[in-house]
């Protein structure tokens, strides 16, 4: 069977002028309006408007280079660390514009925490990894209070049972899956409102992945979660809504079951059925 591939410019011609699906929600925790992102002269995100619903999981999917991670990193200003990066448009956490020049990014990143692709525990003890955030943000008045936060965070991350008797050991001594749960415990220790996850399971085996996914499922009762994933099945399993990015544009957004059973835009359909990407 001959395979004829559509050249990139043909795919670009298929991009919709407006995002397909409902970009707005009734109870948004974060709102983004007409967001453009540039790396130097190159436009990485093109006019993206999207609401992030409170206490829901939204998956950002799309082929490599589509801008999903760039968009994710805009949500807590992680792109500030990249000198050539410029963000336009408006991104709000509740009613606060997070790109307001008066905003201090340190407390912002406590409110909008992040878990990265590769587990990155600090070279400190398991206890100190989790206690680090509450300490620098002054969330605990005394040792007992800090102990409680550490225990509660490790419990919520499903790790307490495995590390309770070795809290003084290095975080880097844990397995990959445990390290990633430690990073999640570290993120939730400062009681964030939103957790951003950038391919959090890509370095993990299927069992460790399943545990993280189960954790995401539980955490959505308390937190708003935005996850970038290359795994279609993962997006289908963990998220309430799914947003499909292509060439920097938000092509389609909708309920996860709708997107994976009956997507409306041709590009979404082609991507999720494995016809390109």
């Amino acid at each position: 069977m001959d395979i004829v591939r559509a050249p990139i410019e043909m795919e670009a011609s298929k991009l919709p002028s407006l995002t397909v699906g409902e970009v707005y929600v009734d109870t948004p925790r974060m709102t983004t309006r007409n967001v453009n992102v540039f790396y130097g002269d190159k436009m990485a995100i093109d006019n993206v408007t999207l609401d992030i619903a409170e206490k829901q999981v939204i998956s950002l999917i799309g082929p490599s280079g589509c801008g999903k991670s760039t968009f994710l990193r805009c949500l807590n200003r992680m792109n500030d660390t990249i000198e050539s990066c410029r963000v336009e448009g408006q991104i709000k956490l509740d009613d606060q514009n997070i790109y307001d020049p008066h905003i201090d990014v340190v407390p912002l990143r406590a409110r909008v925490g992040m878990v990265f692709q590769k587990p990155n525990p600090f070279p400190k003890s398991i206890y100190d990894n989790v206690a680090y955030g509450p300490r620098i943000h002054g969330l605990a008045g005394h040792k007992d209070e800090l102990d409680s936060i550490v225990e509660a965070s490790l419990r919520r991350a499903g790790l307490w049972g495995e590390v309770a008797n070795r809290l003084d050991q290095s975080g880097t001594s844990l397995s990959g899956g445990q390290q990633q749960r430690l990073c999640i415990a570290r993120a939730i220790a400062v009681s964030p409102e939103v957790i951003l996850m950038d391919e959090p399971c890509s370095a993990l085996d299927p069992i460790a992945t399943a545990r993280i996914e189960e954790l995401i499922f539980e955490l959505r009762e308390e937190f708003t979660i935005v996850i970038v994933t290359h795994s279609m099945q993962q997006a289908a399993r963990v998220s309430n809504r799914t947003a499909y990015f292509h060439l920097g544009r938000l092509v389609e957004v909708g309920g996860t079951s709708e997107i994976f059973t009956n997507p409306h835009h041709e590009l979404t359909n082609s991507y999720i059925t494995g016809r390109f990407g």
């Binding site: 009956n262 059925t273 494995g274």
Partner: protein, 234 residues
Amino acid sequence: MESSPHTSSAFDQDLYEMSEKVRSLANLVERQLKAVTQSLSTLEDKGLDKLIRRDKKVDKLESEIIEQGVQVIALRAPLAEDLRRVLVIQKIATILERMGDYARNTANRTKVILAEGPEAVPVTNLQQMAELTCEMLVDVMAAFDNVDAEMAIKVRNGDVKVDKLHTKLHRDVVKSAQNNPDQIVANVHLLFIAKNFERIGDYATGIAEQVYFLANGTFVDEFRPKADKTSWNA
């Protein structure tokens, strides 16, 4: 929505094979229906035993399709239109297998009618009904081939004609049974055969509904025109 090939050509091959197999199954069931219709309309045994034995092929092909669908789901994790295609093919295969069962059952009953001496059984409308259901099967599989929801709905709505013929045939058979009490056994079997074809028509509408789902990703409205009044108007 037009479909280009998958990045994985083996996935395309799997889906192609499944589609081909369900077409083969439909052709086989069509052959069964035509064969039994021929025996019924001529009131002669035109290879009924062979037809009955051939039903095993129908069952086997259905199993193969279901098994392949399970494998595709497990190995390829299909989504969207691909997932719908796998599920729809499996469902159509199951429906076709049931149609095949009705053809076999009709063949068995036809043998009894022929043995009983079929002089007084009214088969004219039955032949028309059988041909109509066979046409429905052919048309609905063409709708499947072309993923044509409009054509599928046309087939679905056409079932009314089968229902009307069934109602009429039901009356004729009851009358025939009253007039020829010695042929009661043949007439009772004929009633069951009529019901078989009425059900085959229903199954064709079931395939039409699957084609609609394949094309649109949504289910067709529950309402379907019906005209089978045998239960209260005989």
